[in-house]
Subunit: 109 residues, 2 copies
Amino acid sequence: MSEEPKKTERAPTQMRRTDIPPDTILIGKKPIMAYATAVMMHFNTGAKKLTIKARGRAISTAVDVAEVVNNRFFQSSLSKHVNLGTEIVGENQDARNVSTIEIVLERTK
Amino acid sequence: MSEEPKKTERAPTQMRRTDIPPDTILIGKKPIMAYATAVMMHFNTGAKKLTIKARGRAISTAVDVAEVVNNRFFQSSLSKHVNLGTEIVGENQDARNVSTIEIVLERTK
């Protein structure tokens, strides 16, 4: 922190990343398979549960990732639990609502 | 059918539309509010339940519609149940997987 005195106004990306718990994958603009691989690596460590999160246009990619992982690597044996929500993005005049999705994948075997 | 002898190869849009049950709204490329209005009209007829369906890129719009209706018109009182799935679109060489979403909205009061 003390090494970067210029970046005080905006929270650096690094700081926001630490907010994401280790059993969560945040979907952005990378190709579907990049995220699918990350999900597989997580399950290969022995984890039973994983949450995929996305907002806005990335929501459809999040669904793609969940479907690819479940159908291609788990023979459709994962249990899926989905939560929808709304977040306020931006401040003051730029504030707008953005839809969010949270897909909880759980190994059943 | 007999009036359109040229269009035998592809199923006409009209035919596919009749497959959609009356308590289902299929999300496409219209603006969010067009679908939100349709959802409201459906609930205003006294219906307690409605399913919003979408596939591919339209999935994020479907989530937007569900969130707008729930937050703006129902004070977040609707119950939401979400199913994800995969459909095969196209034939033979053009066949590809497309993710689908089904959001079941239900009035709780």
